[in-house]
Homo-oligomer: 293 residues x 2
């Protein structure tokens, strides 16, 4: 798969808006901000949820959400995905009726951004997933990935206030999705992988968001053995990563990072002192839950 097979499109006029205001000197300014719009998801005619999203890849978002909630099993055959832009709706149709009704009864809203629901049986499935024990991550890949991801044009660099998630292989970012909710970004990648039949084998996952229980659960559900973030950890995120044997690397900025689970997959082939500090422009918007997430 080629590098950045999917990448953000900051030039898409549907994804950002220009708005006028004033700055600290009282001078008029104009700035770009990301769009946030509702999208209502239906499964076989039944309304599931309304999500707030930047709006790109609604088909991937719908399928990824249903997969990560265990509402769609990997062997369910999808017969249609209909996006109705006017009605702000997406409808996923499957060959057989799914057994999700019972799942709607028991839900947990999570501490992550957006759409954070964990259904009762997600944890049951979690404990049955075996992540690849042979997978490794070289520190040279980690540094190369951070640099490529943070300097490639994105809605984040254009407008701030948006999360990014990236499916990677070795030192190559493959699928880079952004969304106002970080769980949308990860769900969009899960949906894309399912629709294009991309295997999680040999992959690692990069996110700009915090490593909460929900992000760990979704990554494990997707079968990806390594999760990397610029941001920090919660205690339950760390505990779940250890339980699933997921490698959990956080606070990865410039040359620095720490690993709090699965550190045996790390291969130290780069000299941290030689790693670049981050260029100032990748931080220019001061715009994302920067100092608290």
């Amino acid at each position: 798969m080629e590098e950045f097979a999917v990448r953000p499109d900051p030039a898409d006029p549907r994804l950002t808006e220009r708005v006028a205001g004033i700055d600290q000197a009282g001078q008029p300014i104009e700035t770009a901000v990301p769009v946030e719009r509702p999208l209502t998801l239906f499964l076989n005619g039944r309304e599931i949820v309304t999500m707030m999203t930047v709006g790109d890849y609604p088909d991937c978002l719908a399928v990824g959400y249903l997969l990560n909630q265990n509402m769609l099993r990997p062997d369910d055959r999808i017969t249609a995905i209909e996006v109705d832009e006017e009605a702000e709706a997406v409808i996923v149709r499957t060959e057989r009726q799914t057994d999700f009704e019972g799942k709607l009864k028991k839900k947990t809203l999570t501490s992550g951004c957006a759409q954070g629901t964990v259904f009762g049986d997600v944890m049951e499935k979690f404990d049955t997933i075996a992540l690849d024990p042979e997978a490794v991550i070289h520190t040279s890949w980690l540094y190369a990935l951070s640099k490529k991801i943070n300097t490639t044009p994105s809605l984040y660099l254009e407008a701030g206030a948006i999360h990014g998630c990236v499916l990677c292989e070795r030192d190559r970012p493959l699928i880079y999705m952004e969304d106002v909710g970080r769980h949308n970004a990860i769900d969009k990648i899960a949906g894309y992988m399912h629709l294009k039949a991309i295997s999680p084998a040999g992959k690692l996952f990069y996110t700009t968001g915090r490593l909460t229980s929900e992000m760990v659960i979704k990554t494990v559900q997707m079968g990806i053995p390594i999760l990397v973030s610029r941001s920090g950890f919660t205690a339950w995120g760390v505990a779940l990563a250890r339980r699933a044997n997921l490698t959990l690397i956080g606070r990865a900025k410039g040359k620095r990072f720490i690993a709090l689970a699965g550190a045996e997959r790390l291969r130290f082939d780069a000299d941290p002192a030689a790693a670049d500090d981050e260029p100032r422009r990748v931080q220019r918007k001061a715009s994302l839950d920067e100092d608290a997430a």
Copy 2:
């Protein structure tokens, strides 16, 4: 009300955990991370939702959540709030039965962090709220608030990966709450204000999180006319702030900020060039959805 009448307690052993790992040089390290635990909310014996929270002020979180969801009206008399730590549950009892059942049918999961549900009638109420047109914010207050909030001891400075919200008056931070979900932090303040009968008049609200539609809706629901954030904006957040005549100030770091709604409440009494840059230590954890939120 005194400055920091409520402030974070980073020394509370229930709120952070120390975990071991390794750093970029392969050296063993130990670091603090915030706790994230489930709390199930019941209203008069009916289960409403399970929230992921750091766990302090469960009574305030419960009441604030119910108020901000319009499940509890300001004139509903609360007869008991029972916190069951073992069962990880909080039960709110009211004198009369509430009419929330219908509201459970129509919900929207939002793009913000955590617990983001907006019920159908929230928007109906939104349009009836009149925010104080006389309220003002001096830029000198803004600079003083940012400095006080960002340098006071907090779970954020101790462990990262946590959001803060602060109810303020002029240049004084009054109630500073933190949580792994920023909506929990704002709900805890709403609950505290209700339980202690603190008026929103003359107050402003500071948050570390992004200015999404949900944060704007909650601030307006609380009757607070000015909302300030270190982070960025979404287009719908800006549009709703303009509709409600809320003053919306974002990307407020060091001397810089921009206002995208309600700028007429600003009074420019400080020289931005004289404002401090932020001390490096307030950013030290690199730990919160720093560059994407």
